[in-house]
Symmetry: C2
Subunit: 395 residues, 2 copies
């Protein structure tokens, strides 16, 4: 097991504490697995209290032993029930708190009520924007883990010609692609922070399936296996001379890369080939435009303008009334991190940000385009994805 270095954890906590002080909070109680992992290096059934000053306390229901093995934190103590929390915190000198931060973007209302009573009369305040800001800037350690994730997804894409066959269902192709990822350490649930955005691995859409819209906040839907999970690979059989659009996350050591490539058994229509080249041209122009300080909405607005000039107004990032209004998203411990490349997003891009950009087009005959993962450097975006950007034709 690769554990998060102590220096990483210390730096993250210090950054967060500075923000707690600026917000005049006494501390924050964090519960979400993604945040627990970020600030402790372990994911246990636990409660993390980070004071505005001083050492954090990780209170663990289970497993205390595993928490102590995985996390470099000093104070890792057992707890049986949340009710014990005020006393445990008091024993570390954290008492009479007046303002406590929590992740109110994800904490269910009923649990909010429980914690409000527990910390009464303290006020609970949302610290999720502070966490998202810190997490948006990755360290070299984190960028290294993302590179690993993109190396793994490259291996899966490289394996596609060995298993993609005419007549197999999208679900069969998905099963084989996912097995390539899984055996190389794809870790489990790909986390999304937004409410109700269930996400599973990725997407295989062949031909017209790429035209099926879905609830999911992405440009390409897919039929899915059934109406309860109406997104991604479905029962359609893969045919000759149609686009096979494959879009997958790669979740390795906690960090999620994101990449799409397209395949075709036989020949692709000139319309789709042209759209693929348009996607590459848009990506190239967008990448050239991004410098530190670029606002996160600018790449989207540029891509949208270029797509419209090229005649793709009704096809860019979805078809007509099913279009999504973004070009990309931050990647890291969650798939929907900051920055978000969408209209109105005024976040200046900074070195250390990692993100996926995905100029894509949807036509009744299928979905096509590209998606790559990048890290922002002092001079502009650098590819984390390493797979050649071509349409791969199979005989």
């Amino acid at each position: 097991m690769n554990y998060t270095p102590a220096a990483e954890i210390e730096r993250r906590i210090k950054k967060f504490q500075a923000k707690l002080v600026a917000q005049e909070l006494d501390g924050a109680l964090l519960l979400l697995n993604a945040d627990l992992y970020y600030f402790t290096g372990t994911v246990q059934n636990s409660f993390l209290y980070i004071p505005a000053g001083g050492e954090p306390v990780l209170m663990v229901r289970r497993s205390v032993s595993r928490g102590r093995t995985e996390s470099p934190l000093t104070n890792i103590v057992p707890i049986r029930s949340p009710k014990e929390m005020p006393d445990i915190l008091a024993s570390f000198g954290y008492r009479d708190v007046k303002r406590v931060g929590m992740e109110l973007d994800v904490l269910p209302f009923n649990l909010y009520q429980t914690y409000r009573k527990l910390f009464s009369p303290a006020e609970l305040s949302d610290v999720s924007p502070l966490i998202k800001e810190i997490r948006a800037i990755k360290t070299p350690h984190e960028i290294g883990l993302l590179r690993q994730a993109l190396q793994v997804v490259d291996k899966a894409f490289q394996a596609v010609p060995s298993f993609l066959k005419e007549g197999m269902t999208e679900l069969e192709a998905a099963a084989l692609f996912e097995a390539e990822l899984r055996q190389r350490g794809y870790a489990g649930c790909c986390k999304m922070r937004s409410f109700n955005q269930e996400f599973f691995y990725g997407n295989v859409c062949s031909g017209s399936s790429g035209f099926d819209p879905s609830f999911f906040d992405g440009p390409v839907g897919g039929s899915g296996a059934c109406p309860s999970h109406p997104q991604g690979a479905g029962w359609k059989k893969i045919s000759r001379n149609e686009v096979v659009y494959i879009d997958y996350t790669s979740l390795i050591e906690g960090y999620t890369g994101d990449q799409s490539r397209v395949f075709c058994i036989g020949e692709l229509s000139p319309q789709l080939v042209k759209a693929f080249e348009a996607a590459l041209a848009i990506q190239k122009a967008v990448l050239a435009s991004i410098k530190p300080g670029t606002l996160a909405e600018e790449p989207y607005l540029l891509a949208l303008k270029l797509a419209e000039e090229m005649g793709y107004k009704d096809h860019f990032m979805g078809y007509k009334d099913h279009q999504v209004k973004f070009l990309g998203h931050g990647i890291g411990l969650e798939l929907d991190e900051w920055p978000i490349f969408a209209k109105g997003m005024k976040t200046p891009l900074q070195p250390g940000m990692t993100f996926a950009l995905e100029p894509k087009f949807v036509f009744p005959e299928g979905a096509i385009g590209t998606e790559n993962s990048f890290v922002m450097t002092e001079t502009g975006p650098e590819y984390l994805s390493i797979t050649p950007e071509v349409i791969t034709y199979l005989p």
Copy 2:
């Protein structure tokens, strides 16, 4: 695609409306995908209003067309923003609501604030217990879908001897097992209602990995692939003469079956063989004790008593301080449905309930036991699982 029959949806909504009336609520606004699917037959980016009396209204951000194809509801209308909701509802005659039900067990606090303002001065009230009660009793249609799920997981278990090899990692075995499920329509995210209980497919633990505890609320942890996802299959290589514990969900047409079986390349220690037989004996005694009206805690208490009498006090449902305090759980659209077979649960078991029971033991040398899915009938539990309950030995 198999769509939910209109008669099913009508019956579910009528049951829910009767409960809304009893709670003196004007209606309920439901957002969670699992509940949307249950009451509409479709999962779109949408808002479902079910009045205490009258026709429900499904307001869809996207995809309206897909919602109309999949759902038998009459009123399916487009919406751009939640802000339009009061006007849309008023246009259907639903105005001046005073008490509105929502899923406050899952709704994040920040969203709760948004909806409270939107429906101000109406009071928001938690209807999740009402939904859980209704969903706990399955119809023959739903039981049929669960039977399909258990048939699919049986096929995956039957395939294990064809791919399980000494020296492969748990992750490789998991990849192949999951591919067996996926190609047969495993639909995607296995839903859990509880906050922060991330769940992915299932578990392959070989030998000592079954002794690794985890945050997850189940008897067997597993190392997982990395500290960010510390549960389930990991990098340990599968050896001869150790237990290979395989526990998987099967999510087909929205419904989730749950089953475990054990395998061994070579020979198993007498200690583990004896514990496996003890698990079967406990299961047999528990099944014989369950009748309509049995309280949900009784099977757990009986199993615990039997396990202790057999000398397994420190091993039943986890090892020592990592034991979980339940014997099983309801299954359906979510993996953590009602009833919960745990101490203090006074729910009387009723025909139509579907659940998994999982008497298991954990030792330093590995995890062993059994798990099957059942449906409650007028006379007692009936197996939904169809896989023979034996330790499968491979040469």
